[in-house]
Amino acid sequence: MDSELIQQIRSEASYLLKDGTVKCVIGYERASDGLTSRPFFAYEPAAVERLIFDETCTHNLVRYLLDKKREKVAIVVKPCDSRAINLLLNEAQIKRHMVFIIGVTCSGVMETSCNDKGQALQARCQTCQMTKPLVYDFLVEQKLVERPEGEPYLDIQEIETKPIAARRAFWSEQFGRCIRCYACRQVCPGCYCPDCFVEQLDPLWVGIRIAPKENELWQITRAFHLAGRCIGCNECERVCPVDIPLGRLNRKLEKEVKELFTFQAGLSPEEQPPFATFKKEETLGFEE
């Protein structure tokens, strides 16, 4: 654990709370297994001693900003999480002056589970080249490890090259396991609709029974609602209790949006998202 890094986060958090700049600091603390980490909300200057940061800090805390719109809060973000802040700014869900961002440079977080610090970097981190948050008020730097530049869409291409029947069989099996706990939605910084389509009763888009066809409709629409909005934190896949590879849905859409509309979510708080705009001259494969 990089103690200097943690000291910097703690002293900044303590300063902000004492000063009264923020009501709360959202960060990480050691989980009860003594190895991994969990989200932590510090309301008192004394509580900042519990704040930590290391490579087990996988959570995207930006989701919590949606519950703290009324008071100014400080939040610890990794580079990928900072894209979620840009997304929420872009969609006018949070106000920039209501958030104090403590950015942490990062060279990847581990694939952790309970009682396991993890042996390897998360798959999404292995080829990621972002080391510095895109938006921050206070930057904490740590020693970075060089990561090789790699093809980020290999697992997507693997599915794309399968014959269509095999693709369908693959996804039917995956969606068939879904228990519709909606953990993927609850953890996602982009899923904040007050009334989710899946819980609407009129029209009843998705039936309440846990059946393959209903699950499929939920999964496809969840992913499609994040098209051009998913920032790739992969929290949905991490929390999925039945290990559905949700990242492979989100990243397929990310790849297509990049190819069709040359757009990537969360890089700027101003750029118009692809479905809010259009170009008259594009045909996108449809005959005029």
């Binding site: 599915i159 794309e160 269509i164 029947a165 693709r167 369908r168 069989a169 693959f170 996804w171 039917s172 389509f197 888009w205 066809k213 499929e216 409709l217 496809i220 629409t221 992913a223 499609f224 098209a227 051009g228 397929k252 859409l253 297509e256 949006v257 069709l260 509309f261 692809p274 479905f275 259009f278 170009k279 008259k280 594009e282 045909t283 996108l284 494969g285 449809f286 005959e287 005029e288």
Partner: protein
């Protein structure tokens, strides 16, 4: 393949162009395949991707979304949004195992009855070749 197989097509037609185009095909007594079930929508931009997914979930073999030609939208820009939305959905469904040829987006104006009849026939033929959903 079973020669008796008749694909089911759900067609979302915009009120201002394509629905009138279909009407034109009817009043001109053009014959085309009866496999299409038409739903009239105020604009092709009204078609929520959920509607399309719901059609496939409920057993449709193909879905047609048809609106005014780009530039001719009654609401100026509805069909430009339709185009972006379904270009992406079509690729995504293909990735999930619903062939891209099952989702058609076509522009048909109010005067193009002939074109509409021809298109429905072509779509039906193509779906018949693809076979039932369970096969491709």
């Amino acid at each position: 393949m079973n020669s008796q197989y008749q694909p089911k097509i759900i067609g979302f037609l915009c009120n201002w162009c394509s629905y009138a185009g279909a009407d034109m095909a009817g009043t001109s007594r053009m014959s085309y395949e009866p496999n299409i079930r038409i739903i009239r929508v105020p604009c092709s931009g009204r078609v929520n991707p959920l509607l399309v997914l719901k059609c496939f979930q409920q057993g449709a073999d193909g879905v047609l979304i048809s609106g005014c030609h780009p530039g001719d939208c009654h609401y100026n820009e509805g069909n430009y949004h339709t185009r972006r939305r379904f270009a992406l959905l079509r690729d995504f469904l293909d990735y999930l195992g619903i062939a891209r040829d099952r989702l058609w987006v076509e522009w048909v104006s109010a005067s193009e009855g002939q074109r509409f009849a021809q298109m429905v026939s072509n779509f039906t033929k193509e779906l018949a070749e693809l076979g039932p959903r369970s096969e491709s």
